[in-house]
């Protein structure tokens, strides 16, 4: 009797999970199938009709990457911009936070604890709190800080700066927690042998910290690649510097019914994060938790 009820309960739970899985994948599947259909068909019939009369093409991808009479394609240029934005925005905070975390975890100096708390506390500041003054700083300067007056590709510098700065509090937090948990004996032994902080940092701590560094890099990559707010406010919004998210968001607004471009564009933009995600799934999940309070 009990066994029957148990089996029913377990089967009910499994069915719920299957329903959830279907609900969660169907919208994406619909978009993917649509991106492969000719423009005329996307706009007149639902993607589910494709199973009756499959008629697939890659035209939309060609169109959105480099085609379009009114310049509505050009996603290839924005792809380059996304790459140029993302690489330094991952590398810079990674290295600087590693340095800072090492100093905070393994060098004893006065005021260290206060500094740790202070940097961690900056995690509460949302991006929105800094955007207006940052924009003013870049264009007009402020107090003793000169204006940056960046034009053309140099605008990438503004985006790198914002992403680096806003990654630092949580990156230092994440790496400090990891470094502080390394075995004390190991570090002390190297100190006794006369190793300098430079040697310690590069030869001993760096290899040990690899998992934490990769975890941060993965989540920061996905975060920066998918970011819209920093890009909209600081990248200038032109084809010269804006990343794909800006382009896609503006396609969704201006050409709200150009589904042939939107569908294909969404998948072009998602290509790299999806690859990273499936290749480094474990790090992704762990990084998610670490980054859950960020920005």
């Amino acid at each position: 009797m009990n066994g029957v009820r148990e089996r029913l309960a377990s089967r009910a739970l499994t069915s719920v999970a299957v329903v959830i899985a279907i609900l969660w994948t169907t919208p994406t599947l619909g978009l993917l199938l649509s991106s492969l259909r000719p423009e005329e068909e996307i706009k007149t019939t639902g993607w589910w009709t494709v199973f009756g009369a499959p008629h697939l093409t890659l035209d939309n991808y060609g169109e959105v990457l480099s085609g379009g009479a009114n310049g509505s394609g050009r996603l290839a240029e924005h792809f380059v911009n996304s790459v140029v934005i993302t690489l330094p925005s991952v590398l810079f905070p990674l290295v600087l936070a590693f340095f800072a975390a090492y100093a905070l975890a393994w060098i004893d100096f006065r005021g260290r604890d206060a500094l740790v708390v202070g940097i961690f506390a900056l995690q509460v500041v949302p991006l929105q709190m800094a955007l207006v003054p940052l924009l003013k700083l870049f264009s007009q300067g402020w107090l003793f800080l000169p204006a940056w007056h960046l034009t053309g590709p140099a605008r990438f510098g503004q985006v790198w700066f914002a992403h680096t700065v806003f990654a630092l509090p949580f990156a230092v937090f994440l790496l400090h927690n990891f470094l502080a948990s390394l075995p004390r004996d190991l570090i002390e032994a190297a100190r006794v042998d006369g190793a300098s902080h430079g040697t310690l940092l590069l030869r001993i701590v760096l290899p040990l910290a690899r998992p934490a560094l990769v975890g941060f890099a993965v989540i920061q990559f996905v975060w920066v690649w998918n970011d819209l707010l920093v890009a909209l406010t600081l990248s200038g919004g032109t084809a010269e510097t804006a990343p794909m998210t800006v382009r896609l968001a503006s396609l969704a607004g201006t050409y709200g019914n150009e589904w042939q471009r939107l569908t294909a564009g969404a998948f072009v933009a998602a290509l790299l994060p999806l690859l990273v995600f499936f290749a480094l799934r474990r790090h992704f999940a762990r990084g998610l938790l670490a980054g859950s309070v960020k920005g």
Binding site: W24, P169, A252, A266
Partner: protein
């Protein structure tokens, strides 16, 4: 206009310059560290200086300046007292954004956590766990903007009689209903945006909760089973209490993320039809309408709302391990 590879060269050159300049700074720091036994304080300062400088110039000072700007007028130069804060609680658009943000924060964390929990409970001990969890996590990898496009398509509207291209209207029509403009009719359109947000967040909950469920000692559940407890009882009495710290972390993380939600609104409706939220309204005021003071005040509000959640989160995360 086709893709012009030559036009990309200045960008790549700038990328190389940027990385090279950064590498030079890093090398200088490491070189200084290597040169003999630097004193402890000097070594710490050397390693911390870049991060501290950036945090000061990029977060601390701008944050304080935003606070000051929230008491100024649209240009950001003239003192305006509490005008912006009064505006925030009297203006129709701002009030709608506050109401919607409240709805988002009340609905998104519990909904995505319940979905994630049910899913995690079903797949945590299954052979297909990795694959099953990936299905739910994919929306997170394709970005909020991508998710916005996905759901805008689901909600797409065609007049009665025309073939529907949006999945939701197709379902409605299939059951004999009239197609509706889901994203236009207020206030239910807010709920349809919230569905999109839940869709992006449930995978995060499922992954963390599945991890926690697997961490519950098997002896505990086995002992209860031998005592005749049903699996429902075991889940409610043993599994749920054991994973409570993780549940809290997940709920708080989602509340924080939901307060700052901006991309989905921007992509799907652009804040039209009374669908704005605080983060989106802040962007519009500060960067579209040039209302610096109002934008700054909304940013301060966001900061005040998020702070207790983040503080709680940092503590909860330490407990969850």
């Amino acid at each position: 206009m086709s893709f012009d590879a030559v036009a990309q060269q200045p960008k790549l050159l700038y990328l190389l310059q940027g990385v090279a300049a950064f590498a030079a700074v890093v090398s200088l720091i490491l070189l200084a560290l290597h040169r003999g036994p630097v004193r402890r304080r000097a070594a710490a300062l050397l390693l911390l200086a870049p991060a501290l400088l950036l945090l000061t110039v990029g977060i601390l000072l701008p944050g304080l300046r935003t606070l000051a700007l929230s008491f100024t007028d649209s240009g950001g130069d003239t003192w305006a007292g509490f005008d912006n804060y009064v505006w925030m609680f009297t203006d129709h658009g701002a009030l709608v954004a506050l109401r919607n943000t409240l709805a988002w924060v009340v609905l998104v964390p519990p909904a995505s956590t319940v979905v994630g929990l049910l899913y995690a409970a079903a797949v945590a001990r299954s052979r297909f766990r990795t694959f099953a969890l990936s299905l739910l996590l994919t929306p997170m990898a394709i970005s909020f903007v991508g998710a916005g496009v996905v759901w805008k398509f689901v909600y797409a509207y065609r007049p009665t009689g025309a073939g529907q291209i949006g999945l939701l209207n197709q379902l409605v029509v299939a059951f004999g209903g009239e197609p509706r403009q889901w994203l236009v009719d207020s206030p239910s359109n807010v709920l349809f945006l919230i569905v999109a947000m839940v869709w992006t967040q449930a995978g995060f909950a499922a992954v963390l909760l599945a991890g926690a469920i697997r961490g519950v000692p098997a002896e505990l559940t086995e002992a209860a089973r031998l005592d005749g407890a049903s699996s429902g009882q075991i889940f409610l009495r043993i599994t749920l209490p054991s994973i409570r710290p993780t549940l809290l972390v997940v709920l708080l993380a989602q509340a924080i993320g939901t307060f700052k939600a901006f991309d989905i609104v921007k992509t799907v409706t652009g804040g039209q039809f009374d669908t704005g939220v605080i983060a989106h309204e802040m962007y519009d005021q500060a960067f579209r309408y040039g209302e610096t003071g109002r934008g700054a005040a909304l940013a301060v509000l966001l900061f005040l709302l998020v702070t207790p959640f983040v503080a709680h989160q940092v503590r909860a995360r330490r407990r969850a391990g």
